[in-house]
Amino acid sequence: MADFNAQIEKSKQEVAAARQKIDELTSKIETAHTKMNAGQDISIDIENATLDDVHAHTELMGANIAELIMGLDDVTATFSKEFDAMRSKTGWETFIGFFSKNRSDSIRQERMRGASIDDKLQDLISKSNTIGYLLQEQLNTLNEHSKRVESNLGDTLAQREQSVATLEEIKKQLVAMDPEIIALENKISVETDAAARTKLESELAAMNAKYNQLAQDEQVKLAESQTLERYIEKGKTWVDSLQNQAATQMVLINKLQTDTKQRVVLYDALVKSLKTAQQQDVAHKINEIGVATDKEAQSAMAAIGSATNQRMADMMEAHEDHMVFARKVLEEKAKSDERFARRFQQIVEKHDKNAYGA
């Protein structure tokens, strides 16, 4: 199965490449996270973390592994060859069959007796396990990554909540400042005293400066919140994609495991039943010839044997020739037992009555 091994190698490489791509993307997202924590701009990092590449590759890998699982069918095709061979005669056996049917049958039976598919089952299991490990490893990677990204996202979500709260706070302050400013402006417009007016105007200027400051803060926070939102979007998509991949992986593993289990049971059952059907009746037929001589010994043994059992005789009722004979033996034995008991009873009675010589 060089073909299979080559395909396994190919799939291993694909899996490794896919994992590398996944690693890259997660690390990009994580770098963005650390940068963000350090307060740097991360818009570019987010733009760079594109999923398309990963998706394309994952699809390729999935197709490859699916093909591998289908490839197991080729391994199992050898089983059916084996079964066919067990059912039919080989060329040599057919040839022998022209001269002697018995000889041909007996060669075939000998072949059947020696047949075993244990090593093939072992091979099937080991191949299926190899694919299984491959899939499981990939699944573990996917799970690990989705956990990592999820925990990152958790942090970021908290961060975003905070920044949104700050934004709200600023907005509230801005809204609260509006009436104050209007009131101040009104005051200025009605104020006639120059000194008081100057004081009010400087107050207004300070307030305006504060307002502008707040408005600027609002812009900054808004931008930050938007970046965070984009980061979260990206992360969510990534987690979704990871989970999707994991689901596909699980479907593959499940199919593989179920298939293999069923196959092992099925092939084994087939071989065993073929063997049994082929041999069992033959062995009995052959032994029956020998049994004829055995019957003598059996009847002798029964004469010596211990207590009889009526239920056994009943059980024998509907049986084959051999059984009927055994029943006859039993009945004879029962009769002799009875006779013995009767005689024994007489002896007992005689003994009890101390009737010897009486």
């Binding site: 007996s106 039976q109 000998e110 007796r113 020696g114 047949a115 075993s116 244990d118 089952l121 072992q122 299991i125 080991s126 396990n129 499981q136 699944l139 573990n140 799970n143 994991a246 699980m250 593993i253 499940n254 179920t258 293999t260 289990k261 069923q262 092992v264 049971v265 099925l266 084994d268 059952a269 065993k272 039943s273 063997k275 049994t276 041999q279 069992q280 009746d281 062995a283 009995h284 037929k285 052959i286 032994n287 029956e288 020998g290 049994v291 001589t293 055995d294 010994a297 059996q298 056994m312 059980m315 024998m316 509907a318 049986h319 084959e320 051999h322 059984m323 055994a326």
Partner: protein
């Protein structure tokens, strides 16, 4: 059609642990029972060492599997690798588990080389516990893997197929040697261990064990033929036919199972009631059936082979009272069958009280909590 319908996966870690604890106990009792059963129909004294050997191997296999699955359910929450057992008429792990174990054993060396040593693992665990203050599940898993692979390389194990071994037991005459051959398989249909013991006479020119032309063929023939679906007479007949100068005189098959347990397996009939009534206390709700089938050659006949030579063929005494059936292939393929049931005292008492029909011919071995074994008819 689902062929794995009667397989059951042990989902929880504590379930797996309880299952293995139960089996460990049962196997330790089995060894005691093996000592107590010496009789013509159950096991000869000279067969006890063979049985003991296989029982120890079986215990080794169970220990290995218990290490393998000890933490498997906890490391990966998605699609964990779980132990499957056959819950109908077996109670033992499925055949595939043993095949997988053999696959693992082939790679044990590689794993042992890459896994850190036990001491390092334990240090890392202590480290993890003190620093992270959580259970070091992954390290525990690594440790269980290490134990598993060590068990695979060091302990004697019961494989899916244990190839025949033979011992010379004496000479009948100068040209006829006697051998005792024994082998064991894990039956793939019933999922229970079967042990075979065959006494054979060898009239070949070369001694069987030194004969590289016959002995490997004998081994592969016997393992290929040892399935529980084949009757003893079929196996012995086939062997007799295929090897003209080997004469199987006595063939014996031990079925070590099924194991019944109210928690783990599905049973019908009277045993179900017995076990369900005994099941209030964990560890008390099991019973293990042990069957010995014997086939004895009652004589020989000469059969012509080719034009000038004859070969000796055995004639086997069959039990005329066993297994009623209309077809000739339904009749019994053995001379004698002794069934025994090993169970703890409590279910034994319930069994005696209920006295269900069909159990009167079975020899019962009641096991006390201290491990003392008493045998009742």
């Amino acid at each position: 059609m689902d062929l794995t319908l009667d397989h059951r996966k042990l989902e929880e870690a504590h379930e797996t642990r309880r299952y293995f604890a139960k089996f460990e106990r049962i196997i330790s009792h089995l060894q005691g029972v093996a000592e107590a059963v010496v009789s013509e129909n159950t096991a000869l004294a000279s067969e006890i060492p063979i049985l003991r050997g296989y029982l120890e191997a079986l215990a080794g296999t169970f220990t290995a599997l218990s290490y393998k699955y000890l933490l498997a359910g906890r490391v990966s929450d998605k699609l964990p690798n779980l132990l499957s057992i056959d819950r109908q008429d077996s109670g033992f792990p499925i055949y595939q588990e043993l095949l997988e174990m053999a696959n693992d054993a082939m790679q044990a060396e590689i794993h042992l080389r890459s896994l850190p040593s036990m001491r390092d693992l334990k240090l890392a665990m202590v480290d993890h516990i003190l620093r992270e203050q959580t259970a070091p599940v992954n390290l525990q898993f690594a440790a269980s893997e290490r134990q598993y692979y060590e068990q695979l390389t060091t302990a004697s194990l019961f494989w899916a197929r244990n190839d025949p071994r033979a011992a010379w037991t004496g000479n009948v005459s100068e040209k006829r040697r006697k051998y005792r051959v024994h082998w064991a398989v894990y039956d793939s249909q019933q999922n229970i261990p079967l042990i075979y013991v065959m006494d054979l006479e060898d009239s070949g020119k070369e001694a069987l064990l030194k004969d590289e032309r016959r002995w490997p063929r004998v081994q592969s023939h016997l393992t290929a033929q040892s399935s529980s679906a084949l009757k003893l007479v079929t196996i012995a007949r086939g062997f007799d036919r295929d090897f003209a100068d080997l004469h199987p005189k006595r063939l014996r098959r031990f079925y070590l199972g099924p194991m019944y347990s109210h928690t783990f397996t599905q049973q019908s009939g009277p045993l179900r009631d017995v076990l369900s009534q005994a099941g209030q206390k964990p560890g008390d709700d099991w019973a293990l059936a042990w069957t010995t089938e014997t086939l004895i050659a009652s004589g020989t006949e000469q059969e012509s082979s080719g034009f000038f030579s004859t070969v000796e063929r055995q004639v086997y005494a069959l039990d005329p009272f066993a297994a009623p059936g209309d077809e000739p292939q339904d009749t019994a393929g053995h001379s004698n069958r002794q069934r025994s049931l090993i169970l703890p005292q409590r279910p034994y008492q319930i069994l005696e009280e209920l006295d269900p029909p069909g159990f009167s011919h079975i020899r019962k071995y009641a096991v006390s909590p201290m491990g003392k074994i008493l045998s009742y008819k």
